[in-house]
């Protein structure tokens, strides 16, 4: 279409651009209406409603599910550790990677917590937690370095470090294990204490969630994580600091798993060889249920956190709903499938709308 360039456009003014047929026009919605539709259409809201439904159902069957001091506390407390992991996992998945080693990292730091308290009785709690964060970050850094510089998919690398880190933990621990009696009382109280009816662990998880969620939404670095996950090759061509961002994502995931390990010890008081085994898949599941696309680039950590809440709460609610707890896992599986099928249905509807808008 090169030689005879008579523009139809010149004759009829800007409105008849060739783009008209193929581009969706700038939206004319007011900012508030746009914000409201965004929220209403969001995946986070729908999953949150499912959560509310589960809680309401379980509570009508059994009042103490929510309305007893323990019921309320457990509703908030139980998901906290998974929330931390899901937030870290969410960030990693947004970059189109995955971190399967979080369960093993958690096991290592949970044991480290106990070990530190046993070997250095006077150590302040904050120092121990910091040590866990640090160890987790270092383990995450190893993952990140291997992924970013080895040019190897994270699934393979973290599957390898899943074995390695747990192997190290078990070798280090030998046949030792940590009992509640080995740990200082205040540390154990951290695991169960509440402030204004909200457990400490939940407060920590929510603070972490808020910080990470805010960063992802409003900081350049956060947006770059999305860009990397959306198309890693384009991100390199674009000149984004891909390696640095990937390292950061894995370090964050590792550090949060480290924190989760310390909090696990505070909450459960004992550290056995099976701490956190299999929890990596739960963290991935929480992220997926919460609307983070498994191939990166979209979703929020808010969704991942709500996903984690839903997973844990469903587990707790099933017995109250009269379903044998053996069926819990089947329900969780059905939930994951439901979530991704729903995503697809919504996406197909959106695509159809785009097609219709072109037909006008």
């Amino acid at each position: 279409m090169s030689t005879p360039t008579q523009t139809p456009h010149d004759a009829h003014g800007a409105e008849v651009s060739t783009g008209e047929a193929l581009l969706v026009e700038p939206s004319r919605l007011s900012p508030t209406r746009r914000a409201i539709t965004t929220v209403l259409r969001s995946r986070e809201l729908s999953i949150f409603l499912v959560l509310v439904a589960v809680v309401v159902l379980a509570t009508t069957k059994n009042n103490s599910f929510l309305f007893s001091s323990d019921g309320w506390r457990n509703f908030l407390l139980n998901p906290s550790i998974l929330v931390l992991l899901a937030v870290g996992q969410g960030v990693v998945i947004i970059t189109r990677n995955v971190d399967l080693s979080v369960g093993s990292v958690m096991a290592l730091t949970a044991y480290l917590t106990g070990r530190l308290f046993i070997d250095h009785p006077g150590l302040p709690i904050i120092a121990v937690v910091a040590a866990c964060l640090l160890l987790g970050a270092v383990l995450g850094l190893v993952n990140g370095l291997l992924v970013a510089y080895g040019k190897v998919p994270a699934l393979v690398i973290t599957l390898g470090t899943l074995y390695i880190y747990r192997g190290i933990m078990l070798t280090w621990a030998g046949s030792d294990r940590i009992n509640a009696g080995d740990l200082p009382r205040e540390f154990l109280r951290l695991g169960t204490r509440s402030v204004l009816g909200v457990p400490m662990l939940t407060i920590i998880a929510v603070l972490v969630l808020a910080a990470v969620g805010y960063y992802l939404h409003t900081a350049r670095g956060g947006r770059e994580l999305y860009a990397i996950g959306s198309d890693p090759d384009a991100a390199v061509l674009y000149g984004l600091p891909v390696r640095r961002r990937l390292l950061a994502a894995f370090v964050l995931s590792g550090a949060l798993a480290g924190l989760a390990g310390a909090l696990y010890t505070a909450r459960y008081g004992t550290v056995s060889s099976s701490v956190g085994s299999g929890i990596e898949l739960q963290a991935v599941a929480a992220a997926v249920i919460g609307g983070i696309a498994i191939f990166g680039g979209s979703g929020t950590v808010w969704g991942a956190a709500i996903g984690a809440f839903l997973l844990v709460t469903i587990n707790r609610a099933l017995p109250s709903l009269g379903i044998e707890d053996f069926w819990q896992r089947a329900v969780v599986g059905a939930l994951i499938l439901g979530a991704i099928v729903l995503d697809r249905v919504l996406a197909a509807r959106q695509a159809r709308k785009l097609a219709e808008s072109r037909d006008r």
Partner: protein, 505 residues
Amino acid sequence: MTATDTAVPVLELRDVSKSFGPVVALRSGSLRVDGGSIHALIGENGAGKSTLVKVVAGVHRRDSGVFELGGESVDFSSTADSKAAGVAVIYQEPTLFPDLSVTENIFMGRQPLTRGRRIDRQGMYDEAERLFDRLGVRIDPRRPAAGLSIADQQIIEIAKAISLDARLLVMDEPTAALSGVEVDRLFAVARSLRDEGRALVFISHRFDEVFALADTVTVMRDGSYIDTLRIDETSPSELVSLMVGRDVDELFPKVAATIGEPVLQVSGLSRAGVFHDVHLEVRAGEIVGLAGLVGAGRSEVARAVFGVDPYDSGSVRIGGKDVKAHDPRAAIRAGMAFIPEDRRKQGLVIDSSVTRNVAGVIRRSIAKAGLLTSSMENKAAGPWAGRLEVKTSALDMNAATMSGGNQQKVVIAKWLATNPALLIIDEPTRGIDVGTKAEVHRLLSELAGQGLAILMISSELPEVLGMADRVLVLCEGRITAELDRADATPEAVMHAATHHLEDAS
């Protein structure tokens, strides 16, 4: 290289080389671009233009040679470095983030910030709208990049590059996917940038564009610098012979063929939102051109006919027999061959060998009882690759490392091997140099002469007019004109391609 010899050039490359393993992509590339000028870079497929661009952009590091920016020697190790040094690049393949909004795509990594280093979203959207206004397009700045056509993607790339406010703007075939209107707007913007004193490098295989836009032109061949000429002191034929190293006889070697029975009959084909009530017929020995603006839905029609995409209603018949909808295998069995527009993504299994690609469709017929060995494939693929003179050092070479023209030949070879009755070819020469272009055209003509029915989609009007026996024009998914070779003038085609709306209402 006369007028501005004294001033320091914005970009200077001398004897730059770059190899990928055994493949020498660039032997000695040289390029000198002054501020306030538009410099065209031309050369055959695989001449090393894109490689040169990628060296400038910091995607690749040169193996040797001089690379100076504004008189200072530079050595970029990433595209971030080149960006920081004021170089903006539009790559040959669009590089967008599909999940992010169009606006974020433009400003990624350098979003405007407000207090507390927060991203200023509103400011960003406003800025994007201003950019789109300048380019004269209407795109919702909030829509995701996913689902944009290649042309739209290219426009976003251009907006991105312009917004960088760079002193050097390099565009690697930005117009390959654009229609005349959009090309014009792009050129207007490019000229205004030049007038602001910036330097532009423009790569294209279309000479009319080169002559319309550029001030100087550098020719490359086989990875080496050949010559630099002022545009007003040269002619297309001179450039062609410099590029090819010989004279190209005829660009559209159309030979008359006897037109036979109808091979393809499409009637009432519709798909909501894409195309409506399409009727068309292609006869043996006939080349039917399908023209239209970008986004008119030509590719979609072709894809639906071949069964890659579904359609809502209508029928497709080959040799009088209905072909099952949405089933490429049925189409192949019926004798259709389809060369899609995006050869890297659709035409080739790009990371596979030439052999595997060429034998890709015919493997079912060369297999014995469904069983197949590599030597059977080699035996079948070798002659076809040879016949099209695919320039590769080995048949088991990865198709990914070949230049665009050679890749296109592999795709053609793979489909000719099926011995089809109908060939649908979408943008047969997109991004292909003149030399190879003429070869492709001669081949199409020859095939039609042998009785093959050909449906050819092209955005290059000269190509359509030069090759087709009959031209169908598509506008917004509807056929708005059917013109015989004699009636098919540029004006008639353009009218049909753009004036559908008024005619209908």
